[in-house]
Amino acid sequence: MKFGVVVFPGSNCDFDTVHALREVIGRPTEILWHKDHDLRGADCVVLPGGFSYGDYLRSGAIARFSPLMQEVREFAEKGGLVLGICNGFQVLLELGLLPGAMLRNKHLKFLCRFVTIRVENAGTRFTNAGRRGQVLRIPIAHFDGNYYADPATLEDIERNGQVVFRYCDPAGGLTEEANVNGSLHAIAGLTNQRGNVMGMMPHPERASEAILGSVDGRVVFESILQAVES
């Protein structure tokens, strides 16, 4: 299979993601320039972390207007796999490919640290290499990761099993302290109803090599491989 990583002006985890996909996961990975109209045959499109357009208006708010987003939307609507990490998650929310919105973290500070998240649904194409209840240690680095959705939407996504990851303590317990950014229902990652688009705030590319302190992030990439290649 082949990955494609979108580069927006202000993306800064683009090459980290390319490194993880090419060097660690070992799959060809195209760099997709935001001004183009070509996904270059990617089987999975990744919107990476960073500060697209400086995030001056609202995180991800301008990136949704990039030319390439037209193709990404069509690709997603046809069932193609789209993964948004951190700022990429925010862009997917702004695009309307995922429900809800992001608020500032509850302590109103940027937060960079390892967190633990629990796999809530191991049946998705982004988590099938993991198991339900598994605790993953993966870093976050964001200012706006406090997930919000109105009560009806929350009920929908919970009922449909769209919540993929929740912030938890190292033992897998859901506590207020473990919900570091204050997200509703401690949501750290979710899919669309169809299950082909996922956004997550933690950075799996930062937890894919032992020297970086964790390899738990590989679960996400290996799940995608499994979904596409088998």
């Binding site: 002006p9 800064n12 090459f15 500060f51 995030d55 940027f110 937060l111 960079c112 200012f143 930062r206």
Partner: protein
């Protein structure tokens, strides 16, 4: 007409003015005076410091570029170099903490990528006044947020640094930012125009009225009117800089340009004079073509603006279109504003008239150098100082006070606001000691650390200089890295005061001696004088940034204890020294005495022993005692180690217990080893002539210190850890409640 008032506003002496008239060959106009004022400011010219800085060792086999360029360059083998530098942004950060610190980050990043290197690490050395004062909390909050906003957005990790608190920094915080970049040795760029006929391109953000006189502002004391200087502080745009970074690296990688310089201090003035001066050429530019953000700007304002995120590029005329296309891809303008000439002059036209016509070498090379009078203070009393202080009845209480002292306390509140992992090289998370990054595609790593204790330097400048270098190298040795190069940021008061100049001279001499001992070259840095507010100078604060090389990142040793039942070994020895310690400051409320003595030969042996033990795979952890002494060092090893492991340490010898626990004797490293490896570690120490002893064992859930079997301190790890972890956040919680 240039009159004494204008000269004084421009910080130029009558003597300097006479020299300018001679060099230009006529009376200069106001714009030209502005240019000389900026370039001959202390900040740009080093006119007071150069005669002393010459004493620093700057050469070596691995030195590709020493002082005099935007940053220093060291060869690390395999066709790669590291490009690094530290710079201060103290004055702007006091006036406007957020933007002052943010643009400090932006400025040092440009210094690195202007040389063709991709920045991969930032570190910060910060000094604030005591946090009891809300003004100091507000400055710290703003500075940290500013660093965070800029570094995080541009995507360069802030991987380490250091923070000290002291009364002397209340009215004059220090913000020193270090950046390191990685480049291929054959792809380095310099600030040159090369041949006449080459095109001069202006790239990046538009020019506005912000930051006019920034360089001169950094070269004066602050008084009561400081607040009115806020408009002199620039505003940063990390998004613009990210685009500029990518576009610049792209035109360099494709070899489309011949030279490049960032427009930092003194802006267009600095780049349009330094670039041609280094190539023995001149430059002719049309100021009407300079992209401007505001209307009605005068030539004076255009030349002296310090608007951020701008660069000046020289390229062959036939390459202009290619360069412009590359910048257009990143939605940036690249405007041809002039050309390189053969006559050695900077000539600027504005609305059809020549408004500047001066020789570039006069501006860049002929600033008068000063041998300012200096006076050294009498040495502080050294011997038997410990006897002068009552021994605290409750050593555990003193220990908890130290753990909660902001200088010692956990800095996570700060570093979790920084993205310290982006670029996925961070092999050792921030928190204590040196930062370690892997170099992708190799087994090698880079270690970096910043160090400088202003109180030591205040009480003995020469020792302070030596210790700053020694301790930085020791931090590197603790992770298994050998030092390869040095940059420094020298923060001092007004150099026109003889006692400040005396401190400066002695610090530089101390640093120089230590650098020679460690055989490392100083490749550049920054001098920040005039850190005086309302006549009071800061503690003289040299901050050393030292870069080390790790041969094999798999062998890196970290400070945290790894397992129960391992031997705790002290390399080096504790002497009867309490002067200048954090203990005296926090527990006895005294900032006095002589700092600990340092024997550079002994220091080197201790580090060699540690390096060899790490290379042989004998050590499980290593950390050096600094502020707070052995007790705090051991506690930090527990806090950073595997969950909740405590220790029992039994101290020996005829010294007072507070000296043994909290003294800051130099040349010591606390290491752990598996019991079976302990004899090998002791043997290695002996081979290097280093005293070493097993002083305890890891294990249990308490931090326990005893003196010859008699308990001194016995505290649960969790309780001690809470004091250490909550100290800084608590100050800000109080602040939030008070505001609400």
């Amino acid at each position: 007409m240039i009159d004494p008032k204008i000269l004084s506003q421009h910080n130029l002496t009558p003597g300097e003015y006479d020299l300018i008239v001679r060099l230009v060959g006529r009376e200069p106009n106001l714009t030209e005076i502005g240019i000389f004022s900026a370039m001959w400011s202390e900040h740009c010219s080093y006119k007071s410091s150069k005669i002393h800085l010459k004493k620093l060792p700057t050469g070596g086999k691995n030195v590709v570029q020493g002082p005099g360029e935007n940053a220093g360059i060291i060869d690390i083998g395999d066709g790669q170099v590291v490009v690094f530098k530290i710079e201060s942004h103290n004055h702007p950060s006091f006036i406007e903490p957020f933007q002052g610190a943010a643009t400090g980050v932006g400025g040092i990043l440009r210094d690195i990528f202007t040389m063709g290197a991709r920045p991969i690490a930032l570190l910060d050395s910060l000094r604030f006044g005591p946090l009891e004062n809300p003004k100091n909390r507000s400055i710290m909050d703003g500075v940290v947020a500013g660093i965070s906003a800029y570094g995080n957005a541009i995507g360069v990790p802030t991987v380490g640094g250091e923070v000290y608190f002291g009364e002397g920094y209340s009215l004059n915080p220090l913000v020193n930012v270090f950046c390191l970049g990685l480049a291929d040795k054959d792809k380095i760029f310099y600030a040159r125009t090369e041949d006449a006929g080459n095109a001069i391109l202006y790239v990046g953000a538009k020019t506005g009225r912000d930051g006019i006189h920034g360089a001169s502002m950094a070269s004066q004391e602050f008084g009561e009117d400081t607040e009115t200087k806020r408009p002199n502080v620039q505003v940063g745009d990390p998004f613009k800089e990210k685009l500029l970074l990518e576009a610049c690296l792209e035109v360099m990688d494709r070899n489309l340009i011949v030279g490049i310089q960032d427009m930092g201090a003194a802006g267009l003035t600095c780049s349009t004079t330094e670039m041609p001066a280094k190539s023995g050429r001149g430059v002719e530019i049309d100021l009407d073509l300079v992209p401007q953000r505001e209307s009605g700007m005068t030539p004076y304002e255009i030349m002296l603006s310090e608007s951020q995120e701008r660069m000046l590029i020289a390229c062959k005329p036939e390459r202009v279109k290619d360069v412009q296309a590359a910048f257009a891809k990143w939605d940036l303008d690249a405007v041809a504003i002039g050309r390189v000439t053969g006559d050695g002059k900077l000539r600027c036209s504005f609305k059809g008239e020549i408004v500047v016509d001066i020789p570039v070498s006069a501006v860049v090379d002929l600033c008068p150098m000063y041998k300012r009078p200096w006076r050294t203070a009498e040495a502080a009393p050294r011997p038997a100082d410990s006897g002068r202080y009552p021994l605290p009845a409750d050593l555990g209480g003193a220990f908890k006070k130290l753990l909660a002292s902001p200088t010692i306390a956990d800095k996570e509140w700060i570093y979790r606001q920084y993205d310290h992992m982006v670029l996925i090289n961070t092999a050792l998370l921030p928190g204590v000691g040196a930062a370690v990054l892997r170099i992708k595609g190799t087994s090698k790593g880079l270690a970096m650390t910043l160090d400088g204790n202003g109180l030591y330097t205040q009480l003995d400048p020469g020792a302070g200089g030596r210790i700053a270098v020694a301790e930085a190298c020791r931090n590197l040795a603790c992770v298994g890295a050998r030092p390869v190069g040095v940059t420094n940021c020298l923060n001092f008061g007004n150099p026109e005061k003889p006692e400040v100049m005396g401190q400066f001279k002695e610090v530089v001499e101390g640093m120089s001696e230590a650098c020679r001992t460690f055989e490392i070259a100083v490749t550049g840095g920054n001098v920040s004088f005039y850190n005086d507010t309302e006549g009071v100078s800061i503690y003289p604060t040299p901050v050393l940034g030292i870069v080390g090389l790790v041969d094999d990142t798999a062998k890196v040793v970290t400070p945290g204890f790894k397992a129960e039942g391992e031997a705790i070994i002290l390399l080096g020895e504790t002497r009867d020294e309490l002067g200048a310690t954090e203990y005296l400051k926090v527990v006895h409320r005294r900032e006095e005495g002589a700092p600990p003595a340092i024997d550079l030969g002994r220091e080197k042996s201790v580090q060699e022993a540690c390096l060899e033990a790490i290379k042989s795979g004998l050590l499980r952890s290593a950390h050096d005692p600094s502020e707070g002494g052995l007790a705090v060092c051991a506690a930090e090893c527990a806090f950073h180690g595997a969950a909740g492991i405590g220790f029992a340490i039994d101290l020996q010898g005829g010294l007072r217990p507070d000296v043994l626990l909290f003294g800051e004797s130099q040349s010591r490293i606390l290491v752990t080893a598996r019991p079976e490896d302990t004899p090998k570690v002791l043997g290695l120490a002996k081979k290097h002539g280093v005293p070493a002893a097993v002083i305890g064992r890891t294990g249990g859930t308490n931090l326990r210190f005893s003196l010859e079997g008699r308990t001194l301190i016995d505290l649960p790890v969790a309780e001690a850890r809470a004091h250490w972890m909550n100290a800084i956040p608590d100050y800000f919680r109080v602040a939030e409640e008070t505001n609400a």
